[in-house]
């Protein structure tokens, strides 16, 4: 899942090289540099691609502090029921 997440970040940032440049520990806001709109686009892309429903209410800064933590958030806090 980590590679898929990195690819989606590359799509949103329109930077094809980004997936190779970021580590599993990269902070999605601080290191990748997503602004509010890019972040929303990223989250919607994650929903579309991984067929999950993100719980926006539960999305806290700690879940965006690394790719690993974000994958954990998707696995534990997001539902696949509606897909």
């Amino acid at each position: 899942m980590k590679d898929k997440i990195k690819n989606m970040l590359g799509i949103v940032k329109e930077d094809a090289e980004l997936p190779d440049k970021i580590s599993d520990h990269a902070n999605i806001i601080n290191d990748v540099g997503l602004d509010s709109l890019q972040l929303l686009n990223f989250l919607l892309l994650v929903e579309e691609t991984l067929q999950v429903e993100i719980n926006f209410e539960k999305l806290e800064a700690r879940y965006l502090s690394s790719i690993i933590n974000f994958c954990d958030f998707i696995s534990t806090e997001c539902s696949t029921d509606d897909w």
């Binding site: 902070n27 806001i29 601080n30 540099g33 602004d35 509010s36 709109l37 890019q38 972040l39 929303l40 686009n41 989250l43 919607l44 929903e47 579309e48 429903e53 993100i54 926006f56 999305l59 800064a61 965006l64 509606d82």
Partner: protein, 453 residues
């Protein structure tokens, strides 16, 4: 004639407080660092000050080095020496809060009672729900529009409706349920992407581009989920227009109904977020004059007055790639970034300079304070002074380091925090402005500050 001393103060995310919370929201990530930056953008209001009698109240006092620098430029104003709220109360920064409310509940209310004289003319950035209470508390005269009218005219529903009433056409549709969003959205998608807009959305938040049926279905699902909790759906959906130039027209609707044009400002947007602004050149003004654009704007100003509003207005407009003009994309019945840039231009018109205002989103090492950045600009001979041909004027300082100061109060192992700078770049022409811009980049790199836009 003596001018009455004026109090300038404001809350920059005013739409947040105007919006009806019973209506569904476009999902968003609540970025607390971004909220903290917005909370201290009130320091930009110094641009409206005329002299030492004017008072600019900011959530935390402006940085001394910043104030001293502005004073060297000849920009005079008073600023509170006590904070409206302590940096230890992090929620007063990270959660949207109206400064009017904080001032009524401030621990330093005696200090503020002393500096806020009832004789001051009060000029808020925008009217928000607590503005009236604040005036009652401090005995200030309420010479602004009633909050219910402010809510009405700032909604995109109003912009949509008066476009229809005044000009006989509409741009997009209002959808009132998730099912209507699905059906109307699907029809629009047949002709290309469209924008889904919250009725009180602002740049960067509250708008989303829908480019595919999948994306539309995700938004329908988000609405359905909220409808189940009792919220109702109401969004504006508009086809994505083929934009050539984004610009805004700034006017003041006087208490007697007179409509005063102030300026046209060209916006540079990154995606749908603000990133820079400059005053329109004569060529654009002539083009707008040759169309009936200013007649349209005058009609809008009159209608605003008839509907009970007076005060500053920013009307977002667009020139399309085919040369057509969209006079109203939305109406912001308040002061605005464009008006702030207009004020700066007024100041620099004395020097016959070209100026451009930019905002930079940054990751700042948390050990760096604004004063260091200012000193570096001075050392590199790029800080604008009255003797300079070109240079940078930092318009904000607290927005650069507020998040460093907030994390100082916490156990936090992050090395960088979010910061933002609003800068005016000054030069003799566009080429010189670009040179100044490159120098900004150089200085940020030197200080290990990462720039995102």
């Amino acid at each position: 004639m003596d001018r009455t001393a004026t109090l300038f103060m404001g809350t920059f995310n005013s739409e947040y407080f105007l919006r009806d919370n019973t209506i569904c929201k476009i999902p968003f990530y609540n970025n607390e660092e971004a909220n903290a930056i917005i909370s201290v953008m009130d320091e930009l209001l110094f641009v409206f000050s005329r002299d030492n009698n004017d008072l600019v109240i900011t959530r935390i006092p402006m940085d001394d080095s910043h104030k001293n620098y502005l004073s060297e430029l000849g920009i005079k104003f008073n600023n509170n020496e006590m904070p409206v709220c302590s940096l230890k109360d992090v929620n007063n920064f990270r959660v949207p809060t109206q400064i009017c409310k904080l001032l009524v509940n401030s621990n330093h209310d005696r200090y503020f009672q002393k500096i806020i004289s009832p004789n001051l003319n009060f000029s808020p950035y925008s009217v928000v729900p607590e503005t009236h209470n604040f005036c009652d508390f401090y005995g200030l005269k309420k010479s602004f529009t009633d909050i219910e009218i402010v809510k009405k005219v700032n909604s995109k529903l109003y912009s949509y409706t008066i476009t229809e009433n005044l000009f006989g056409y509409t741009l997009g549709s209002i959808v009132e349920s998730s099912d209507e969003l699905r059906s109307t959205g699907s029809s629009l998608l047949n002709n290309g992407p469209f924008l889904l807009k919250d009725l009180f959305g602002v740049s960067g938040i509250g708008n989303i581009l829908i480019e595919s049926a999948n994306r539309l279905e995700l938004m329908v699902r988000q609405c359905k989920k909220q409808e189940k909790t009792g919220k109702r759906t109401q969004f504006l959906i508009q086809p994505l227009l083929k934009k050539e130039v984004d610009f805004s027209c700034h006017l003041e609707v006087k208490c007697n109904g007179a409509v005063n044009f102030l300026s046209v400002q060209i916006m540079s947007n990154k995606g749908f977020s603000f990133s820079g602004i400059k005053t329109a050149k004569d060529e654009l003004i002539r083009f707008l004059e040759s169309s009936d654009y200013f007649d349209c704007i005058r009609k809008i100003g009159r209608r605003l007055f008839e509907d009970g509003y007076h005060g500053f207005v920013c009307i977002d407009s667009m020139i399309l790639q085919d040369g057509g003009i969209v006079p109203i994309l939305e109406i912001n019945a308040r002061k605005s970034m464009g008006l702030i840039n207009y004020q700066i231009n007024q100041f620099f018109s004395l020097y016959s300079k070209t100026v451009e205002m930019i905002s930079l989103d940054l990751r700042v090492p948390k050990t760096i304070e604004f004063e260091q950045l200012l000193n570096e600009m001075r050392r590199e001979n790029i800080l604008f002074s009255n003797n300079s041909a070109l240079g940078i004027i930092p318009l904000t300082g607290n927005s650069f380091h507020v998040n460093s100061k907030l994390v100082d109060n916490e156990t936090n192992n992050q090395n960088h925090v979010m910061g933002r700078l609003y800068l005016t770049l000054v030069g003799g022409n566009d080429k010189e402005i670009y040179q100044v811009y490159r120098k900004v980049d150089y200085i940020l790199n030197k200080l290990n500050i990462i720039r995102f836009n």
